[in-house]
Amino acid sequence: MADKVRFIIERQDGPDEKPYNQEFDVDYRPGLNVVAALMEIQKNPVTVDGKRVPPVNWECNCLEKVCGACTMVINGRVQQACCALIDHLKQPIHLQPARTFPVIRDLLVDRSIMFENLKKIQGWVEIDGSWEVTNAPIQNPYTAQLTYKLSQCMTCGCCLEACPNVNYSHLGIEGLREEKSAGAADFMGASPIAQAYLFNLNPIGSFDKPKRLNALMEKGGITSCGNSQNCAAVCPKSLPLLDVLAQVNRDVNVQALKNMFNF
């Protein structure tokens, strides 16, 4: 008989339901990862007590660690489930939803706030249109290397989940739940700040740098970063978030002085 891998999964039937644990066994095989194991559970959703239950719900798309969908908390640490190899995990393996965000069901959470924050920081280059205008400016290849790195941020939410200062769990979920007022969040997390920096580095994007910095100075912006630096430690794409946060802190301070003295 093949070796079994025990999973303890924190489930929740709806946004306002109570969480509970269920245990599943999955046959071990070399190279098995958490998503593959969850797929096995889908094929035969029976708990260790022999009870047939609804299959576990979670989100995944690419399974190559580029889409960012399958973010969850595995053995207490937030990461992508598709590249969480069983061989590297302590068993039994605990799976939990990323509770910084409102939970929809089981391991499924609502991260739409992250995309809303990208609107706030004006995360785009303001081009005139998709028609032909001119050649884009030549770029310093070293800066381009940094922007490429920053542009790999897949909005997965690891940096927000690990950050002790981000908390969006009270937010409403469209069609399922009203917003709860308790514990209003005061920090957007590292990801949108890195994106603001990315567009400030772009030769055309830099025209709107003051707008982005002013947006970051508003409540919920960069201001409430508490420097725990978990974001950089958990970022699955190893973005240089410490440099980014310090640089953007410097930039907003300069912007604040400009705001004060350049009316």
Partner: protein
């Protein structure tokens, strides 16, 4: 669009470093004199009394009371928002983040007790002047002495870790290497000041 949160946070950071730093260093210095014995300590206390009252109150209220109250009250608001998670993410900086908030809670209680009893009750209401003997008397109770040592260590850590985070928040140290250097320096300072605290606390039991 006044960026209230931004300016409050920055002010909180500045108050923390400059005013609290001054408060702590001033305490460290005067208390260190205790190691030189009661006479020297009492002489220093006497010199403090020589400062003209309006100037003295000005310093006490403007440089100590207001900044500390602001830092403390706004700090409580900040600390309440954090969901500390060093058990899951046991990195050094995350532990420091958590300790910064735990020490803050201790300091809120400790400072109310310390300022309330020594400055407001004993000195302000009963008019008892500060002296080596008075402190020696208070520290006779070992519980009080231990609570004081913890209180001072908490303040020192909070201040020294604050130097590191100040440098990040103001964009002075950019990048992990500079930040690690500053962190190492401030933690050495922290260790030094903690040892100094033990030394002068001991002197209240020696003399």
């Amino acid at each position: 669009m006044f960026h209230t949160t931004f300016y409050l946070r920055r002010l909180h950071s500045l108050c923390g470093l400059l005013m609290l730093g001054f408060f702590i260093l001033e305490h460290m210095m005067t208390n260190s004199l205790a190691m030189a014995g009661p006479q020297i300590f009492n002489m220093a206390m006497g010199m403090v009394e020589e400062i003209p009252k309006p100037v003295f109150y000005g310093i006490e209220i403007g440089m100590y009371a207001v900044p500390i109250l602001f830092h403390g009250i706004y700090g409580i608001y900040i600390a309440l928002q954090a969901k500390n998670n060093p058990r899951d993410y046991g990195y050094l900086r995350n532990w420091n983040f958590t300790l910064q908030r735990w020490t803050a809670w201790y300091l809120v209680v400790f400072l109310i007790w310390h300022v309330g009893y020594l400055r407001i009750y004993l000195k302000g209401i009963t008019g008892t002047p500060m002296s080596f003997e008075l402190l020696q008397n208070i520290f006779q109770n070992p519980v009080v002495a231990i609570l004081y040592v913890i209180g001072m260590w908490a303040a020192i850590f909070h201040f020294c870790n604050g130097i590191t985070t100040f440098c990040m928040t103001w964009g002075i140290t950019k990048g992990p290497r500079a930040q690690n250097v500053i962190n190492a320096i401030s933690m050495m300072l922290c260790a030094g000041l903690c040892l100094l605290t033990l030394a002068f606390m001991a002197s209240y039991f020696v003399y």
